[in-house]
């Protein structure tokens, strides 16, 4: 640990002030300093062991300098600065961990999206040529069948499939191009439709997806990539919970909130994603948002939900989970609350900028 002597001296000074303070109130500034020192120790890369040795060195110095110190006073006060120090150190250490974890996750996400973008742009040209050939030849082949024949119907189905493939390429490109990006004012309902267009074909056919949107506008400030990732992660989890098929209900509306949820100044947009899957036990629910916790080992990374929670909180919102795992009525629901942004206020700003 760097600047060891200075730290040792500072801590001993704190301990002295706490021990000889007249009453706890007078010890308060020294305790606050211990707390501040604890936070700083994290940046000095001090370990819990370093803190233990700081304390024992302080105790030994006390013994040398104050041989007559009463045992009562000593035992009453000696742990007070240590508690502040370890508590602050622990908290700061945890924050530092979370920050570096978030950095890793963000970087990983950016890399993946970039790869998807490059891939989509690269294959789009060739892929559209291929789809174009199938579409064109199929249309011409249709001429060879009499109208209302089964052959004509089949050819029409080939064309429908081609349109689907064409739309998929379009959405893939749109998805890759939009993310990641700066937060903008966007309609969550519209973003969900975009994601579902890509996602639905990739889900098992035994999983049905229903999307309903309320009448009120559902604008928030976010980057499209963030909304996409939230919906993707939750829907993929939902489909994994239903290997034998089931239903994913996605609902979006405006709502005040619920206990434990901060309410945005203008209210919240509520996004609910519910499945009819196997549900989670209390133990699993308690750990569901923990990084690296997965029930899908060895395939799951254990990052999906924690990343989702990270994004939601970055947007100033909260995610709530309810789940039932006792048959017959099993399933999981995630409710996400995001602070509403009004499109009107944004356009007023824009207009003001133009007229000045």
């Amino acid at each position: 640990m760097p600047t060891r002597a200075a730290t040792r001296e500072q801590y001993f000074n704190i301990v002295e002030r706490v021990l000889f303070a007249h009453g706890i109130a007078e010890a308060e500034p020294a305790l606050a300093e211990a707390f501040e020192l604890g936070r700083r120790l994290v940046h000095l890369q001090a370990t819990p062991d370093d803190i233990v040795s700081l304390q024992s060195e302080a105790v030994m110095m006390l013994g040398r300098q104050y041989p007559d110190l009463s045992l009562k006073r000593f035992s009453e006060r000696i742990n007070m600065p240590l508690l502040e120090l370890t508590m602050a150190h622990g908290m700061a250490f945890r924050q530092q961990l979370e920050r570096s974890y978030q950095e890793i996750v963000d970087r990983e996400r950016a890399t993946k999206l970039e790869a998807l973008g490059t891939l989509s742009a690269g294959i789009a040209h060739d892929f559209n040529n291929i789809i174009g050939c199938i579409m064109g030849f199929a249309e011409m082949a249709g001429d060879e069948f009499p109208p209302d024949s089964l052959g004509r119907t089949f050819i029409e189905q080939i064309n429908v499939a081609c349109f689907r493939a064409r739309d998929l390429v379009t959405h893939m490109l749109a998805y890759a191009r939009k993310s990641p990006g700066e937060p903008v004012l966007l309609d969550v309902a519209e973003q969900i439709r975009d994601v579902l267009a890509i996602l639905t074909p990739s889900l098992s056919t035994s999983v049905s997806v229903n999307f309903t949107a309320g009448d009120e506008p559902t604008y928030v400030k976010a980057s499209p990539g963030q909304i996409h990732q939230i919906v993707m992660n939750l829907c993929i989890n939902a489909s994994h919970a239903m290997p034998d098929g089931g239903r994913i209900d996605i609902r979006i509306d405006r709502a005040a909130g619920e206990p434990g949820v901060p309410v945005g100044r203008e209210g919240n947009v509520r996004l609910s994603i519910a499945d009819t899957g196997c549900g989670m036990s209390q133990e699993v629910m308690a750990k569901a948002f923990d990084p690296f916790f997965t029930t899908k080992a060895p395939h799951g990374s254990g990052l999906g939900l924690s990343v989702t929670q990270g994004i939601v909180r970055q947007l100033g919102g909260e995610i709530v989970l309810t789940s039932r795992c006792v048959p017959p009525d099993t399933g999981t629901e995630f409710r996400i609350y995001l602070p509403v942004s009004e499109p009107e206020s944004a356009s007023i700003q824009d207009n003001a900028g133009e007229t000045v």
Binding site: E139, M140, T170
Partner: protein, 123 residues
């Protein structure tokens, strides 16, 4: 008979479009890149040129610019893959800037091709 020159590097796509146009009663010639397209255009004097934009070697933009330099008045249709992709938009926008009025984003239907050809021929 109206003569259409198709400039397209993707052989299968070229065959498909040729057949579509022949079925509509047009006479069709083909070229594989911009340079060949320019030579063919000079040799056969087509009524319409349907060109891809993104091609290896000399591309559709080279062809369009070459024709402009020659003061050619042959109507053009620019086509490019990747509907709404950044690159296709960019390609088709470049063609627009160079004075090409009719564009087709791949993949297109026979009806879209028909409409574009008629529009370019002023029919």
């Amino acid at each position: 008979m109206t003569h259409i020159l198709i400039v397209e590097d993707d052989e299968q796509y070229c065959t498909m479009v040729s057949h579509m146009l022949m079925k509509e009663g047009y006479r069709v010639s083909v070229a594989r890149n911009g340079d060949e397209g320019l030579r063919q255009a000079a040799a056969i004097g087509p009524d319409l040129i349907l060109t891809d934009i993104l091609m290896p070697g000399s591309d559709g933009i080279d062809l369009i610019m070459g024709l402009r330099q020659q003061g050619s008045g042959i109507p053009l249709i620019a086509m490019s893959g990747g509907r709404r992709s950044i690159r296709a938009d960019f390609n088709l926008d470049s063609a627009h800037l160079l004075g090409v009025k009719t564009t087709l984003a791949k993949p297109f239907t026979r009806e879209e091709l028909r409409t574009a050809v008629r529009a370019a021929l002023g029919q």
